[in-house]
């Protein structure tokens, strides 16, 4: 019997400069968001507002950790973490830069050509370039390596045929980073994949909306029919796509957005509670507060590992699965405690509940399903 050394969650204390930044961000959000209604705050990083994104960029809070020569600000990962958690906690509409700041920018920094970095990173950091991610296909969800969209070499680039689905916000984005099959290697589906920067307005690309059960439109189907992608828009080496996507998904899984999506509802639940709540309500709220505080500590600990240049893949998967369970539990608990009907109108609580009840099922799907995460965790524990 001994300690399990497979995962580590060392406590992370934020440095003073990060805490000082928190005050600035809060002040900015108070001024910029004003009295934005709770139901809008509940959209979290689903809110897409280019003007807001440009304002955030002007403060230097996009591409914070990137080198200055690419428009970045060379600040620490922990300072960036504070900006992210404050934006999420306030329900700021960060959707127009979230993807680029979180994963596309770091991907280009690591694997992109110098020309790609110079062209795209400063524009992202200025808040002028929104990116979308094209990975899933109609027959390839969790089994991502089975994608079939083909990019065949032609003169000066590639000819692309196939279909991507669940491509969030590509109808509003300036570019998408898509994963295509550049070579078919029988029996080796992880080989022959490559990533590309694609202009969604190019000829041969058709974007069709996929409406969510709530009636909202984020998702799209993207059909490629002999679409041309220039050679210099390939990201990284041909055939290295799987490795690159793995690194990208680690960024996608490790942030505070994986436990804060229902914070707006917990806030409204506390608002609905009397100053002297009954025992049942106090226990329910207190338990959620304990989970929230613990998840934040765990999430910060992952941020600390990223700051030190470590690779917290297992830890990120643990926090994401715990975090999305927590997010999905909050609407359930509000239901059970108050029995109030989730609606589109009515009280703030009802509206926030209405929005989140309809969106919560996606929390344990996006960025790697619960099932995939638990597989990653089991492998990390030595079981696969």
């Amino acid at each position: 019997m001994g300690a399990v050394g497979t995962f580590r969650f060392d406590l992370c204390t934020l440095p003073p400069e990060a805490e000082a930044l928190r005050g600035e961000v809060r002040e900015f959000l108070r001024e910029t968001l004003g009295d934005m209604p709770p139901v809008k705050r509940a959209r979290s990083w689903g809110g897409f507002d280019r003007e807001f994104t440009r304002t955030v960029a002007a403060r230097g809070w996009i591409g914070m950790t990137w080198p200055r020569r690419y428009g970045g600000h060379e600040r620490s990962a922990l300072e960036r973490y504070v900006v992210l958690e404050e934006m999420l906690a306030a329900g700021a509409p960060v959707g127009a830069h979230w993807i680029a700041d979180r994963q596309s920018g770091p991907l280009l920094l690591r694997f992109g050509t110098e020309a790609q970095r110079e062209r795209f990173l400063p524009a992202i950091a200025r808040g002028e370039l929104a990116l979308a991610i094209g990975m899933s296909e109609p027959d390839s969800g969790s089994d991502l390596a089975s994608i079939r969209t083909r990019a065949e070499r032609v003169d000066g680039g590639y000819r692309v045929n196939g279909t991507k689905v669940w491509t969030s916000n590509v109808h509003r984005a300036d570019y998408m980073i898509a994963l295509f099959r550049t070579r078919v290697v029988p029996e080796k589906k992880h080989e022959g994949l490559s990533q590309f920067l694609v202009d969604p307005k190019s000829p041969g690309i058709t974007i069709r909306p996929i409406i969510e059960l709530s009636g909202a439109h984020h998702f799209n189907e993207v059909v490629f029919q002999d679409a041309f992608v220039p050679e210099d828009m390939r990201v990284g080496e041909e055939g290295a796509g799987w490795k690159q996507v793995g690194a990208e998904l680690a960024f996608e899984r490790s942030g505070p957005e994986r436990y804060l999506s229902c914070l707006a509802l917990l806030v409204e639940l506390i608002r609905a509670a009397p100053a002297d709540p009954g025992e049942r309500m106090a226990v329910a709220i207190g338990r959620l507060v304990a989970h929230l505080a613990t998840l934040r500590q765990m999430s910060l600990s992952v941020a600390g590992m990223l700051q030190r240049g470590e690779n917290p893949n297992l830890e990120a998967a643990l926090v994401k699965d715990l975090g999305t369970n927590f997010e999905q539990e909050i609407p359930e608990i509000v239901h059970g405690l108050l029995g109030c009907e989730p609606t589109a109108r009515g009280s703030d609580l009802q509206q926030v509940l209405g929005y989140l009840v309809q969106h919560a099922p996606s929390f344990s799907l996006r960025g790697g399903t619960r099932e995939i995460l638990r597989g990653i965790i089991a492998r990390g524990l030595g079981l696969r």
Binding site: V289, A293, R374, L383
Partner: protein, 360 residues
């Protein structure tokens, strides 16, 4: 983890690996005091982490105590290590001499009130202390009292009482750790002193919850290690059961609960080092309620994966799970601490939730 702390972790892990054998655990359950184990702990200087070096202790931090208590959770040594750590800290903080040998602390049961009165020839103690860990076998007892009961803000008193002066009714918890009831009737006290201002009347309750959080988090680590190992070894349908997704899922959830418990406990000890346990009530409440919930889920999964063999006395799994089931309720269960957190959150108000969480 600092270098000194990882040396401490290695020392205590080695000692427990050698000394907390199945035989020691089983004979302790039959009522035998594991004298050799206690002696080894004392000789290695592991029982007084929070006592100043001048007073014969290690002069360490709550972070050091955390290392020892998490290890105690993993191995389940049948001795009052947590109680001795807390009791000796209380004596040291109050400027009182720390005696050798195992100590226990009171009161640990909600509603128990102990009264300290100055009589002819010194202080005397009266009242009933229920379910004291090793109450009948510890050499000395450290009592914290306050004039208006344990929850009041009045200046507390810390007193040291020698064993053998109380009327003892022996009992034990599910893990067969002694939980004895002691009745004091004008009992003479060895020494007593006013506690420093940062030690309130409910300090034993708070520190007890803090210690049990670390022990439960340690217990979960042991469950995870045993369960993953068993899932890799046990074969059914021609392959290790750990190759089945259903079992992998269970182990993944156990891993998540173990990680959450460890983080919550570590955070509370770190807060205790920043500002003292009394000012770390929020983190202690979070830790006790979160580790307790994790303990319930974790024990269930560990038994499910181990199947019938884990349900036997022959197997060693129960040395951990019976402790978790007991510790979970001691010094306030999940609902007690959650209710406190919930009431505080409601009185601070909805918009203070996030600022408060990030200020801790």
């Amino acid at each position: 983890m600092s270098e000194l702390r990882s040396i401490l972790a290695d020392t205590v892990t080695r000692l427990f690996t050698d000394r907390v054998t199945k035989d020691v655990l089983e004979t302790a359950e039959q009522g035998q005091w594991p004298a050799a184990l206690w002696q080894a702990l004392e000789e290695s200087g592991l029982t007084l982490p929070l006592v100043t070096e001048k007073q014969g202790g290690a002069g360490g931090t709550w972070g050091d105590a955390h290392v020892l208590l998490a290890a105690a959770g993993r191995f389940g040594p049948p001795v009052p290590l947590a109680e001795t750590i807390i009791a000796s800290w209380l004596l040291s903080e109050s400027g009182l001499e720390v005696p050798l040998g195992p100590l226990t602390v009171a009161p640990v049961h909600r509603g128990d009130v102990l009264r300290l009165e100055r009589g002819s020839g010194g202080w005397r103690l009266s009242g009933t202390a229920r379910r004291l860990p090793w109450g009948g076998s510890a050499g000395h007892l450290v009592v914290v009292t306050s004039p208006d009961g344990p929850a009041s803000g009045a200046r507390a008193m810390v007193a040291l009482v020698a064993a053998g002066h109380a009327q003892v009714t022996p009992d034990h918890n599910l893990a067969l750790e002694p939980r004895d009831t002691l009745v004091f009737d004008n009992t003479p006290v060895l020494t007593a002193a006013p506690a420093p201002p940062l030690i309130p009347g409910d300090i034993v309750w708070l520190c007890g919850a803090l210690a049990r959080s670390a022990q439960m988090a340690g217990g979960l680590e042991s469950l995870l290690a045993q369960t993953v190992q068993y899932a890799g070894e046990r074969k059914q349908f021609g392959k290790p059961i750990g190759s089945f997704q259903a079992i992998q899922w269970q182990c993944a959830i156990l891993g998540e609960q173990t990680a959450a418990a460890a983080s919550a406990a570590a955070s509370a000890f770190s807060a205790a080092d920043r500002s003292g346990p009394a000012e770390a009530t929020f983190e202690i409440a979070v830790a006790k309620s979160r580790t307790g919930e994790a303990a319930g889920i974790g024990a269930g999964i560990a038994h499910q994966v181990h199947g019938a063999i884990g349900f036997t006395y022959e197997h060693s799994l129960h040395f951990v799970t019976r402790r978790l089931w007991s510790w979970r309720a001691e010094c306030g269960g999940e609902s007690y601490w959650a209710e406190r957190l919930g009431r505080e959150a409601a009185s601070r108000g909805a918009d203070a939730l996030w600022p408060y969480i990030t200020s801790r």
